[in-house]
Symmetry: C2
Subunit: 390 residues, 2 copies
């Protein structure tokens, strides 16, 4: 049995970034850039008007003949004389012979005769070519997480494809003779299987949609076969149940027989003690406890960091934050506790019923309080570490 | 021109919840429950062992004959005598005649003879029927946002479908003669269109995937036609560009001609001043500024609250948080400023280049600092309001 920090360290050391592939910018939300991107063009690609108004050459003159129009999208090649001006709109090409744009609110126009009533400074309201970014400059560095703004930035430079770390394909393997799929009649002694849909949803929250669920009865032979197939076809295998010491828990044996190296088994924590973590080549295996709340706690605390590291994220752990706890709390277990909690901008509230079998409180929690194994008592208003869910 | 707070109030008052529909629990992540859900069964549905061990009837006896096995999923109907015990596993049915489970670590077994070395209390390690939730009790209240844990909780009760608020169908209408799709050659005077992919990605971050993009040149007739079609087929129309006062900006006229009521136009803010918000029946229209950074700022601050209210969320605004600002900042504009920023657990840093045309900094920002219109100067370490993205 190891401590939480050691478990996280082992997971970090054994999670290897996925392969790199080129994908469409429009589909890249939440992916991590695998290489730096440089600007293929200047942005703006030409001198651009920042206003609706008139373009002219700054001089001692204040009166101009309006000779043409530059609408956004136009490319006006006409030669513009010093005593001439061009009607121009926001975003439009500023003709080469002009250097300044006066906003229309500062002008009066009669019969194509422009009178500037408030003269702007030379160069006013003209966005320089390459003002936002110059051709060849860095757009986004490697390891940037792609946000909506990053997608907009790449697209405005005409970039359609980028290299990113792939997302892992994840197998969810659910074991247990007692499990019945929701929607079916529930025979005596059985319960509804819920961990597969729960884990699929949890994977979606970190952007992993390619999941396949396998269900297997408590049989060594079948468990071994399914695990073999999962290891061949998926990058990560999440197993739910079958990992405690009961006579009918075949998962660990099936994993070892498939050549999975055990990196740790059992963590000094509550809930989620019987967590198994193993590796075969670059494939990772988490055998999660069967109890739903334990399973989800282990997923958030241990599987998310591994999956995010695979996807190229630099910040892989749940983001930690500090809050004042609302109530005194005793920890006589000698274990690290992960408590379902509701936090707001000021404090964090420990929710009732922390049982590892119960999802009641987990359903409304927005984070976990971490009580380290060596902290035996907390007073109300003590500062504690909170792991927010997203 | 109105203030930010008034704009948000008008949006709140005019955003009406979507229709309700029944969807699969497995597909319900991020939806909002439209009605309370009650438990159709007890959970656990029977008395369940919390341990691997032996079930027996608590008495003065410490020695028992092991007569059968209750594995998880079994339903053992055998009559168990007072001097008999049953081998039992975690999650398994506790036979009706027994009341206590001793964990296997506290026993010694020789030839079917069980010796209890450390006697548990009566009733120990037996989870009562309905301990997690009783048939008929509240599972999740109306307006609960469906999390992975909520999905697990519903599924473990055998619930396969729930009633939720639908997600709005959103049309994105991009206007401008200057726009060229990424991937094509860029003629002089033109720029690449990027707002559509950016807004599609921003919609995905709040769970809206059903979007359709329309592109239209600067023509009143065409703009009017496309808006008419959008209003018939979508719940929300996001329009990018064409809303300033330029001669070629036809969007506002096209909206009014289509019977859209103007609820406000122009907000006393920077960036994003020329934002238009209108309504036709329950359909909402946001005409966003064409500049990418202004457009995205307006989306985060104004469109997200509207869209979340439509989807049934109670907390609709970007969650506000307070941080110490890293640097002094002047606001001589008399406007509310939304500054691209990077915040961590302690402070918030104002990013460079806040220009409304630039997405450089937006790409790496994780929130916006709000500087109210009546705040003219901030000192370093003053506390400011931050709107985190996500």
């Amino acid at each position: 049995m190891i401590q939480v920090a050691e478990a996280l360290k082992i997971i970090g050391e054994n999670s290897v970034q996925m392969s790199i592939s080129k994908i469409k910018v429009s589909k890249s939300l939440g992916y991590v850039l695998a290489e730096a991107v440089y600007a293929p063009i200047n942005m703006p690609p030409f001198r651009q008007s920042a206003m609706d108004g008139y373009a002219f050459t700054h001089s001692e003159l204040a009166q101009f003949e309006v000779v043409s129009t530059s609408q956004a999208g136009d490319f006006l090649e006409d030669k513009i004389q010093k005593n001439q001006a061009v009607r121009i709109f926001t975003g439009a090409f500023v003709p080469d012979d002009t250097d300044t744009v006066v906003m229309q609110e500062h002008t009066r126009v009669t019969d194509n005769l422009l009178q500037i009533e408030k003269m702007p400074l030379p160069g006013a309201n003209v966005r320089a070519k390459g003002e936002q970014i110059k051709k060849g400059e860095l757009v986004l560095d490697a390891n940037t997480v792609i946000t909506p703004a990053a997608i907009g930035f790449l697209a405005c430079l005409g970039i359609t494809k980028i290299k990113v770390y792939e997302k892992p394909k994840v197998a969810i393997l659910v074991t247990g003779n007692e499990l019945v799929s929701a929607g079916k009649k529930l025979p005596k002694g059985k319960i509804y299987e819920s961990n597969s849909v729960m884990l699929e949803a949890a994977l979606k929250t970190i952007g992993i949609k390619k999941t396949t669920v396998f269900k297997v009865k408590d049989s060594l032979k079948k468990t071994k076969m399914v695990i073999e197939s999962c290891l061949s076809n998926f990058d990560v295998v999440l197993i739910s149940g079958g990992i405690s010491v009961g006579d009918y828990d075949y998962v660990k044996e099936a994993l070892l027989k498939n050549g999975v190296t055990e990196l740790f088994y059992k963590i000094n924590q509550k809930p989620g003690k019987p967590l198994f973590f193993g590796r075969k080549e670059n494939k990772l295996v988490f055998a999660l406890p069967g109890n739903p709340a334990s399973s989800l706690t282990c997923f958030y605390v241990y599987a998310i960091p591994a999956l995010k590291k695979l996807m190229g994220f630099e910040a892989v752990h749940l983001p930690e934050t500090k809050r004042k706890i609302n109530t005194a709390f005793k920890n006589t277990s000698g274990k690290t506790l992960f408590l379902k909690a509701l936090y707001d901008d000021e404090k964090v509230t420990v929710l009732e019923s922390q049982s590892s079998a119960m999802l009641n409180t987990f359903s409304i929690a927005n984070g976990l309080i971490v009580v380290p194994e060596n902290v035996t008592a907390l007073e109300a208003n003590d500062e504690v570490t909170v792991l927010p869910f997203n």
